[in-house]
């Protein structure tokens, strides 16, 4: 087995510790940035939903400001956002390079996308159900947590899956500016030093990660759809 691997993936096998570290770095970026994206995106998506014209906390000022800000950030390509945010990143985490430095742009680049996904997911919830909750005397906070977020779970799980997969893509891209991780690994050896086997193995690792995320997301969506 080992000989076989060394025959087909020679450049990976001599850099195994580095390869494992790249996987760990990618998973760290993915999970830390993902946690922030999930919480912030969910909050902003809910805020968009409740402040819109027919929302339960209608507020044109907040809605318009948020709506426009999300559009602006969504129109900036991630690779440009990375450099654009350098000063902010340094201010927040003290460095603009490495895994830590990548997390700030990853969060800021993905939150607007996830907010829109959350908004779209919650828009599927029937207004009549919200009306029924109001008629029961539920508070706005109660409606957000016990109706929107509860009824929306299957659709939110799908939205989170799509966002998570897009986030994995972004972590690889962050590698290009020295963030480490699988993207960095592939560019450093596979691209710059023509080690094609490194590229293949990196791709395989990313595909596995994406598949795992997709399977978990689909399972949650299916289990919560009644």
């Amino acid at each position: 087995m080992r000989e076989w691997l060394e025959l087909w993936f020679p450049n990976v096998m001599v850099r195994l510790p580095e390869f494992y570290k790249a996987i760990r770095d990618t998973l760290t970026m993915f999970s830390v940035a993902g946690a922030f994206v999930f919480v912030l995106g969910l909050a902003l998506g809910v805020l968009l939903t409740v402040t819109r014209r027919d929302g339960i906390l209608r507020n044109a000022v907040i809605f318009q400001a948020l709506d426009k800000a999300i559009n602006v950030f969504r129109s900036i390509p991630f690779i440009i956002l990375l450099t654009l945010l350098l000063p902010l990143t340094r201010f927040i985490v003290g460095t603009a390079i490495g895994v830590r430095g990548a997390i700030v742009p990853l969060v800021i680049g993905t939150v607007p996308f996830f907010s829109r996904q959350v908004e779209a997911a919650l828009a599927n919830i029937d207004g009549g159900v919200i009306e029924a909750a109001q008629s029961l005397g539920m508070s706005s906070l109660g409606i957000i947590f016990r109706v929107y977020l509860w009824e929306g779970i299957p659709m939110l799980a799908r939205a989170a899956t799509i966002t998570a997969i897009s986030l994995i893509g972004s972590t690889a891209m962050a590698g290009a500016v020295g963030a480490g991780g699988l993207g960095d690994f592939a560019i450093k050896y596979g691209h710059n030093r023509f080690m094609v086997d490194v590229t293949w193995v990196t791709v395989a690792a990313l595909v596995l990660l994406v598949c795992a995320v997709q399977i978990v997301g689909s399972l949650i969506a299916r289990a919560t759809t009644h």
Binding site: D126, G128, V129, E131, A132, A133, Q134, S135, L136, G137, M138, S139, G142, R146, V147, W150, E151, I153, P154, T224, H226
Partner: protein, 347 residues
Amino acid sequence: MIRLEHINKTFSDKSGLIHAVRDVTLRVRPGEIYGIIGHSGAGKSTLVRCVNLLERPTSGQVWVDGVELTALRAGELRKARKKIGMIFQQFNLMAGRTVFQNVAIGLQYSGLSRAHIRERVERLLSFVELEGKANVYPSQLSGGQKQRVAVARALANEPRVLLCDEATSALDPQTTQSILSLLQKLNRELNITIVVITHEMSVIKKICQRVAVIEHGAIAEENEVLGLFANPRQQVTKDFLYTTSSLSGVYPLVREDSPVVRLKPGEVLLLMRYGTTQVCQPLVSRMSKQFDLEINILFGDLEIIEGAPMGGTAAIFHGTPENIKSALKFLEAEHITVEVIRDARMA
């Protein structure tokens, strides 16, 4: 129990200002079942939403159970809403919660213990005859069962009032009857005042004591259901009544000039609508004898509304002009509403 004072509601949209409710003033008495009937777009759904302020009226006051809701602050209004149940055409259950959780949702964070909530939900489910369905999700229920869950949910906080917005319009006729019977049961046994919004006269006829007919956002006519059937004053009311009465069958025949309604000279085609007591008298045979008339009955309709008979007859009267005139006078004296549909008498 419910007092609406000069309620107006306007919406503005691209096409301009829409006056959905116009100066509506009405009172619903404690313990009664009050109907509001109107065509779709007449503003009846907006009006009923003004009662629990799901729609805030542009002007006017809303009083429920002695409290002016329009003067309450948000928190107080939420508390007041708990005492005003509401059910909807599309049931509006939460798909992600079981029947039990749907009914219990209004009770959570209300200071009741878990055991207390469980006990009350089970009692409600047995009241709406859904024992054994507590752990089922709404998607596994039929339309009628879903509406029963919605009723149980609306009753969870022991309201004094129940608002029904087209609650039977998505149901088949048989299920409609069972839901209407359920509403009657909770009206009688729990003494809950009910407001029923509908576009179906049959619903009004089955359970309501009083009714308001609404057209273009305003009340066209308000009356006891019995009085409304006996003596509709507005055209819109007549239109609604015809939808439930087989007597209306005479109009298309007249329009098509069917041989059945063609008159010989001297004849007249009348539509007589009876109130309550007169039906018990043999009117037709009395007129026939007393005024020497031949009376050919085309349509007859008799129904029991709120326990009293109510109905009408469409018939061709044949006789001398004087005798027909006397018969008309006789009918007038008996307080029977007469409509001359065709007249072939000599001038």
